[in-house]
Symmetry: C2
Subunit: 579 residues, 2 copies
Amino acid sequence: MKRTALIGHLNDSHLDQPVTIQGWVNRRRDLGGLIFLEVRDRSGLVQVQVEPDSPAFAEADTLRGEYVVEIGGQFQRRPESQRKGGLADFEVLASRVTVLNTAKTPPFELDKGDSVSEDVRLKYRYLDLRRAEMQKNLLLRSKAVAAITEFLDTEGFVQVETPMLTKSTPEGARDFLVPSRLNAGEFYALPQSPQLFKQLLMIAGYDRYYQLARCFRDEDLRADRQPDFTQLDMEMSFVTQDDVLEVQERLMAHVFKRVLDVDLPLPFPRMSYQDAMDKFGSDKPDLRFGLEFVDVTEIFKRGEFKAFASAQTVKVIAAPELTRKQIDELERIAKQNGAGGLAWLKRDGDAFTGGISKFVGSVTAQLIEKTGVPDGGTLLFAAGEWKKAVGALGAVRLSVRDLFDLAKAGPQFHVSWVVDFPQLEYDEDNAAWTYMHHPFTAPHPEDISLFGTERQGEIRAQAYDLVLNGYEVGGGSVRIHQPGVQAQMFQAIGFTEAEAREKFGFFMDALEYGTPPHGGIAWGFDRLIMVMSGANSIREVIAFPKNNRGVDLMALAPSPVDERQLAELSVAVASGTSD
Amino acid sequence: MKRTALIGHLNDSHLDQPVTIQGWVNRRRDLGGLIFLEVRDRSGLVQVQVEPDSPAFAEADTLRGEYVVEIGGQFQRRPESQRKGGLADFEVLASRVTVLNTAKTPPFELDKGDSVSEDVRLKYRYLDLRRAEMQKNLLLRSKAVAAITEFLDTEGFVQVETPMLTKSTPEGARDFLVPSRLNAGEFYALPQSPQLFKQLLMIAGYDRYYQLARCFRDEDLRADRQPDFTQLDMEMSFVTQDDVLEVQERLMAHVFKRVLDVDLPLPFPRMSYQDAMDKFGSDKPDLRFGLEFVDVTEIFKRGEFKAFASAQTVKVIAAPELTRKQIDELERIAKQNGAGGLAWLKRDGDAFTGGISKFVGSVTAQLIEKTGVPDGGTLLFAAGEWKKAVGALGAVRLSVRDLFDLAKAGPQFHVSWVVDFPQLEYDEDNAAWTYMHHPFTAPHPEDISLFGTERQGEIRAQAYDLVLNGYEVGGGSVRIHQPGVQAQMFQAIGFTEAEAREKFGFFMDALEYGTPPHGGIAWGFDRLIMVMSGANSIREVIAFPKNNRGVDLMALAPSPVDERQLAELSVAVASGTSD
């Protein structure tokens, strides 16, 4: 017997007709001699009524939660008083109940999954995945995959699978290694990203490439990281930065429209890295709300308040009225993010009170005018070295957002670009220049001459990040296609020619054989889906994630393995060698 | 400057208009003071003419093969005498030539790639991938991905990514292992297939699942294997075998139509495993041609030819006229495939000559009638134990196909199902029963009572293989959804309860919590694309394959790694422990 339709697809057209449904018993209630069931599949849930004289009653009476059932009956409207709209207006009057499988009592109640410890949810992931929230998230993810594939195929992008067993290049993050049995003593690395391969595909003439690529980084797992993750990887030939951004905007709009029926306004606003840091203290600013920094460095310069007078930068945000307790909490955030403290002022009419008010008497009017802080409002300051000051105030800004739910007033989704990143960063710890995106990012053509000069920190990269609601959901760049520029870049970050060749020799060779101008981007797909679905963690949009020890609590991976397996691979566990 | 279109998309509508193209110099000829270029991108190739007085001439004169160029000019029809149809009817009269990048001389001529050693092609894969043949294959593959995604999304299948770092279960093939740094002394395994995870997704209520899944098996690499490969993995709930097959047929037809514009006739023919072996000596019979086996066991039974008289099975195929040399070669094939030799007869009018003719006098008329061998034709026999006899003759049949190009007369693509595989096979080496598909395959319901009896070898599985032109391109089954049947199956293949729990404990637990009836299939995607594109090897449809030592000759993976990396992972190279 086949089902008439998924439960959620039953509708007016089935009214007063016999239907067959299949699914799980979500709930059973016995009332006035009748049995009421909720039967659920991934699409929805419907009430089933079994009357005492029904031929289905005896079988229905054996049912418990999570049993798998097939039910035949009449699809009918519920009494008017019980209608709540949608499927809740209907019910199935059962004439046939078949138990397709029984079920043990689940270790937790599915509709209370939110209050269950994550360890339990992960151990019984197959039950956790039955929850409506998880099903919504994974179905949304699947829809996004289909929408992306449709768009990119139509636009002439070629899907290519790049190697999963590749060469270890101790660059960036730590590699996961895979011992080779056929080549004893040698190891593959799982790919951190398909970066070189997608550039090689451009060299090979594929013109436009995409792949939903599994990537691996063996990092210490912070709260919301996974050892493997998925990126939507793309690359295009014969393009400028504008060309890449234009296609990406249409793709993103297509995905939001198809998956969420949300219209994203095009084009996305663009902001330079410098502006993003200057105004929001973040290279992934949440632009759903304001609280833009006001620069008051000049107001305090050479003034009476010594702490500000000599600061490279003094920035301020005008927050709503804050309690002393809230200010203390924000100060904690500021300190956590590198500030020495959090100076503040409360406006009281034409004066300021509290905080540093005794030092600002002479600039009160100027501050009120420049910040526009309303009466009762609070000014929050960060001062000091530019990058530290804006970074700390950026964190404070997000905390103020959360305190007052400021993002709610904005659009549900705000997408923007951050562009013009620096090509090079000075790494204080190693006293050396390093790349900001990766070593294959192209500098702005007019800045190339700064390589090797004192001003190489000013070189702007043709790099761009895609920012959604304060999350970086994508990042990419135009790539270096000229071997000479690539050599300059390697030199700038301190690679000797031998080192460069050892790590990237085959790629440097390839660059010499006719490389077209090209550029691309990768989306952090897990994070994008997390934001689109309103989830709090990427674990909520991954079917079988690891916990923060890298453990799959359901399958119990990783695990010890047989000595025989290790011997075949010519490796041994070296106990005690790690610390 | 942007290109007008990909080269292959230029057409009548661009005639006598200015166009801009971008691509690679495929060839340069200088003739009568003019420069003729062939310029190529992934979509096609067009002739470019540069006249001596053109402003583009000086730049054009610097061009060499594989330079990357942008060319502006007039799109015009070539002189009538030179038209060959399609893009060859047109040319671009250049007014502007820009070198976007230079190129070293490639180590091999691209249009002679077929005659270059595969090692060289793999080392310079980025050049090899420029060849039209490789581009055709990879573009076909990409189109297939898009067609599959479109179909399955429309049909309500949910794309779910399953774990890449999972638990080692030394079952079937050898695992690739990944040491865990955070859990010293423990290892992940790369997945051999998402089998358990897709069944868990059915238990979790996802109803229909698909994924283009990367899978890993650390086997000794035969000619056409890769350490990692791609399967199109699918699973469905609340289905019978017929339901699965019906969806698969529509999917396959959709893919062939979309990608190759080929109409596959539906439904696909189905043949039992028994019939396939009996008639074609293969569980993946090539049905593009006949040469069906004729069973002549009864004709020889208790007859004068002792070797056949006592044989369990005597099968024959009626081949065209064969030379002695061809017969010798076929005998070699038969022996390679387990036969003691290859008995043969040549029909000469109403008699047979050669081979075993002196033993068949009394059954000549019967043989001619039953086999229908034409005058001059050759009969090829296999006799002995059934499975050995049909297997050897099956190999001979394919060799005869190749000798006479018999497949050519049939349809370009022939797809069929092989069904009703045995549930269990007796493994002579280990003197034990084992599964034929995998331990989760459901038996035919009416055969379940045979578990544990002497007749358990007769249990038929609800398993099916998809066969295309003699290649197995898919295989699947209805799965066991009842814990009790799963336990019987584990017992039949000799797992103790403890062993079963150790390997599959979490899965056995999951089965108890309300498992719907379900079944699925996986397509060998690389092999399917190989057959669709007419390639000889899966390496021709994989962008960056390994050689048969598991080595990526371009990236030089695997490779030795730093001691420091190994120490972090708590492993060491154990030299000499492997042999």
